[in-house]
Symmetry: C2
DNA sequence: TATCATATATCAATCGATTAACACACCCAG
DNA sequence: CTGGGTGTGTTAATCGATTGATATATGATA
């Protein structure tokens, strides 16, 4: 494996010069630059990132910790993050906490050991105090953590309001919200809040709410909650599900009970994650601009690394995507 | 940030001894070991993985390159890989090639630069010659690449046979296979092959086959192909889709044409990826043991790193999971 | 008593790149 | 002809851990 030294020798230059070419520092003539690049190509030189990171005291990796990689929402988020990383020259170190606090902390430590450029936390059971003085910026994604450096969210409350308006204007008068309300407080709780408050503004609308435990979010099995809910409110005519995954299972359960969607019951989801919306009937949902949110996380880390100022809290608008279930 | 030296000083020992504790080498008394651990805890020491990797000439990361992170099949695979990595003490460096050969090569180079312990390729457009002498083992996942060190697949041909048998024994006599047959040859093509050959063994069964371009696999939009197919074979009574994502869209398209699943048309998918199978009607599909396959990839890399011998080709059995669409 | 296994220290090189200090050119402009 | 900008070389320290050589000091064992 060729080293910088080998490249220098091959090009008949000093390591200092070659390093300057690699890092675009100081004075370099066009001729030298090209000669270095030719030498690198001839030797098939690949800079040793370990050595660079050691020297620079910082790697070009960003740590990402999510609760569950296979969940469509997180897999889409990871995908968007990967795009943004690529664009900005970062690499992704990915971990899944499975909602376990100890595993989460282990992964935070792994990030420290790897001297990452930053950490994006989409999981919130970490003892926040452990995030202080890590040596790199920590950004939370749709979570609250006091000791993080910044947070990126979507307008969850507004999304809940949009959902309520859609159901009510479609004629629903006996609606329910399902999901959220776990034991840890998170931004997504705002969805239910917005939904309930908006419904409260309409006197003729009855509203119910059901919460799911966090474990459900991990294994994506909401059926017990959904069945309990359908038994308690058999005549529901509008459902706001906290996520598309829940919404799909609601539709499935309704259809099994012989209730037609959207004729008998209208359903609206949250997230707008493919491929869940390709199915029949296509799900009306609240669209989160995940790509932009991912981009924002990366830019915050980039700015923080360069000592520039960055927003502590970034909140994105959500939009209603009307399809076939409302 | 505390270093090994600081720990040594804090514990009143030499760096050599502390290093021996960290790496479990040579003679260490229980007393010393504990004293080192106490000192590490007191200083909140986190070993610098960059320095370790530089010194060892190898990091504890494994590179993973997939075509598309958000595709349910790959997100499940990534999730399973992450579990296996965690169990074996590796970390994941994740990349998405989006099917672009140049991006793929760029990511292979990134893995070289990061001196990964191994690379898992779930994407196959790389010029195979570029995989020679990378300095770490390369394992392909459901791909063919001559220059890789090992490959892990499932019994695609057998899966196709199972699907055919299921449809035929359910009474289908005019069946179709959809998906596969892209421009690059891959193991998954065997599904169609097995399906067609098994159907060929039954004289009274008519069989059709349709292929999808690779781009479809990336954006998960198969509707054009599916509609074309449904027009050409309007009286189809059994469909074998090359993946669950395709199967769902087939069901969706059939329902829109007023054809009932499974009454009029039986459908069977491939992969068995949640949450696609939670929907209604629940999809009958061919189950791939992705977790075991992921595990196999990791063990191959582990064995190769330790100089032990490993299987060049590992093929896993698949099973039929009968649900509601057949 | 001699030997061996255990346990630790000291020292220094090494991994591969970054970077600062300093020196030496050259060329151009004032 | 002199000062300043440009371009490059040399040298050496540094980042933090690994590792081998060598030395020393216990005990226990033969």
């Amino acid at each position: 494996m060729a080293t910088l030294k080998d490249v220098a020798k091959e090009a008949g230059l000093s390591v200092g010069t070659v390093s300057r070419v690699l890092n675009n520092r100081g004075y370099i003539s066009e001729e030298t630059r090209e000669s270095v690049h030719r030498a690198m190509k001839r030797l098939n030189y690949q800079p040793n990132e370990m050595a660079r990171s050691l020297s620079r005291q910082r790697s070009s990796m960003i740590g990402v910790i999510v609760p569950n990689i296979a969940h469509p929402y997180f897999s889409m988020l990871i995908s968007c993050l990967e795009n943004a990383f690529h664009r900005e020259g970062y690499e992704m170190l990915l971990f899944a906490s499975h909602g376990k606090a100890d595993q989460e902390e282990e992964y935070v430590r792994a990030c420290v050991s790897n001297r990452v450029a930053g950490l994006i936390l989409c999981t919130g059971s970490v003892k926040t105090a452990r995030l202080r003085n890590l040596g790199f910026p920590v950004v939370t994604f749709e979570r609250f953590l006091n000791d993080a450096d910044a947070g990126v969210e979507c307008d969850n409350y507004g999304g809940g309001v949009l959902a309520a308006q859609e159901l009510i204007s479609a004629g629903c008068r006996n609606v329910a919200s399902i999901g959220g309300g776990g034991d840890v407080s998170m931004p997504a709780d705002g969805r239910q809040e917005g939904f309930l408050e908006e419904c409260g503004r309409h006197e003729d609308v009855r509203v119910h709410s059901f919460s799911c435990s966090v474990e459900r979010i991990l294994d994506m099995e909401y059926l017990p909650e959904i069945c309990r809910f359908l038994e308690q409110v058999p005549d529901v005519d509008g459902v706001f599900a906290n996520s598309d995954v829940i919404a799909l299972q609601v539709i499935s359960a309704l259809q099994k009970k012989g209730r037609k969607v959207p004729k008998d019951v209208r359903v609206i989801g949250y997230d707008d994650v493919l491929p869940l919306n390709i199915i029949n009937p296509a799900l009306t949902t609240i669209h989160q601009p995940v790509a932009e949110m991912a981009e924002a996380c990366v830019m915050i880390i980039k700015k923080a690394s360069q000592g520039e100022s960055f927003p502590v809290r970034t909140i994105f608008h959500v939009t209603l995507v009307r399809r076939e279930t409302t």
